[in-house]
């Protein structure tokens, strides 16, 4: 009897580990920023390089911080979703134009539409490092007090918007 039970147990243990392994997403690294204040920045705006935007300008608003670049292929697939979200006016969408050529970036927004209330430039990737960005696109949700409440890695889909972003934004809008 034991002769059959031991291999069976081993098989089950192995199967459980493999199943867990299949469902893990090694690309999703848990962000240490959740429930921490948004890292400080003060950076020139993409459409008006003489003006700067800092995270304190956004205090009192629920905002999304979306990291994008014209060289980023998945940003292209994410873009219509953001355009759609911008039309709903649920929250302010701030773009971080990451390691990009400003001319390419402006051209990109002209052709594909601009969902961002404002985009700021991070040509040498320093703001990216401060925010722990490792893959573009990434999207953070920041509450009215300037605390990061959620981070999404990779392109945001319609489903993510409906199931995660909109309910969370609605909840944060009620908070004082």
């Amino acid at each position: 009897m034991l002769k059959y039970i031991i291999p069976l147990i081993l098989f089950i243990v192995l199967a459980v580990f493999l199943a867990l392994g299949l469902n893990l997403k090694p690309g999703d690294i848990p962000s240490p920023f959740i429930n921490k204040p948004a890292p400080a920045f003060s950076s020139p705006k993409l459409d008006a390089p003489d003006e700067k935007l800092s995270q304190t300008d956004l205090t009192g608003k629920v905002w999304l911080f979306n990291v994008w670049a014209s060289w980023c292929v998945s940003c292209r697939s994410e873009h219509p979703v953001l355009n759609q979200l911008a039309q709903e006016k649920a929250a302010v969408i701030v773009g971080l134009n990451y390691k990009d050529d400003p001319d390419d970036a402006r051209k990109w927004l002209d052709t594909l539409g601009n969902p961002y209330t404002v985009s700021i430039m991070d040509q040498d990737g320093r703001i990216g490092i401060d925010w722990g960005v490792y893959g573009v696109p990434e999207t953070f949700v920041i509450d009215k007090k300037g605390v990061i409440r959620y981070k999404h890695t990779g392109p945001v889909t319609d489903e993510d918007i409906q199931k995660t972003f909109l309910p969370l934004i609605a909840k944060l809008q009620i908070e004082s």
Binding site: P32, D124, I129
Partner: protein, 151 residues
């Protein structure tokens, strides 16, 4: 033969180009730079250190480490800066915590399980061979070998 040797030498040289070389005035700082870049993970290509990787993020992180060393920051301060932003995952050697405990303990558990299994297996085998070598069996084996199986 000569050509093969040259190809071999070329293969060896590949690693040298991966890291952009940085010059420090102080050999201690050089050492910190080299050890830090080889124990921080590149988060884009997750099985490479930032010293090995040619990803842009790795280059940025090397620059960050370089600048922090130049500013006189210590090893611990730089590691703290990185984990604050990227979490423990950025470290090739994760700290021993409740969450990472299984990573550290599992190999010992597997080794122990293996040793116990081998021990039990060997003991059982010994018992079995003890039965095999009883005088009656030996006799039977010998007669089978000499006369063949007549049953």
């Amino acid at each position: 033969m000569k050509r093969l040797f040259i190809i071999f030498l070329l293969m060896l040289s590949g690693n040298g180009f991966a890291v952009d070389y940085r010059q420090f005035s102080n050999p201690e700082q050089q050492e910190i730079y080299e050890s830090l870049t080889s124990e921080l993970r590149c988060l884009v290509c997750q099985n490479q250190t930032i010293a090995d990787s040619n990803a842009e993020l790795a280059a940025d992180l090397r620059r960050q480490v370089y600048e922090m060393i130049e500013q006189g920051k210590t090893r611990q301060e730089i590691l703290g800066f990185m984990t604050e932003r990227y979490g423990d995952f950025v470290l090739y050697k994760p700290p021993f915590k409740a969450k990472t405990g299984i990573l550290w303990i599992a190999p010992a558990i597997f080794l122990l399980t293996g040793l116990i299994a081998v021990f039990l297996f060997v003991r059982q085998k010994k018992k079995l061979s003890g039965i095999e070598s009883s005088p009656e069996k030996q006799e039977k084996i010998r007669s089978l070998l000499e006369n063949g199986d007549q049953s």
